[in-house]
Point group: C2
């Protein structure tokens, strides 16, 4: 059974949506650029799925943010 840290996954969902919107991308555009499905992006942004290391790196790259910076933002969101 996959381990899920619900609070962490929710924090990630918020940061992903905020970063995507700041980049002016729709879920479809981000999905296309990261070669993920739009439904998967939607599941990530509603905290119904959690990313693997590969997906985290892919999304960070498409959103033009370093992976460590993205994780720092997720931790900051978690601690708000």
């Amino acid at each position: 059974m996959e381990r899920t840290n619900a609070k962490l996954i929710k924090a990630f969902a918020k940061v992903l949506k905020r970063r995507r919107r700041a980049a002016g991308l729709s879920q479809e555009e981000l999905a296309f650029r990261s070669e993920l499905s739009p439904s998967y992006i939607s599941l990530l942004e509603t905290a119904n799925r959690q990313p693997t290391l590969t997906v985290l790196a892919e999304l960070a790259d498409r959103l033009d943010v370093g992976l460590p910076e993205l994780l720092a933002e997720i931790i900051a969101e978690l601690n708000e």
Copy 2:
């Protein structure tokens, strides 16, 4: 089908093993502390599995390193 960035997953595997040994932990001890199975720790360290966001955070916590720092170390390993 799960996306896999083989180079990134190998870099993570190396950092995990190095950090675990530096902490003086066996795979079994790290598994026990992070409530993961020893076989899963072994699969992670041989790059046969990749971590989710939750597992990354759990391992970072058990290895007493911040999540952003752990990701920075993985990126540094990747770029070596």
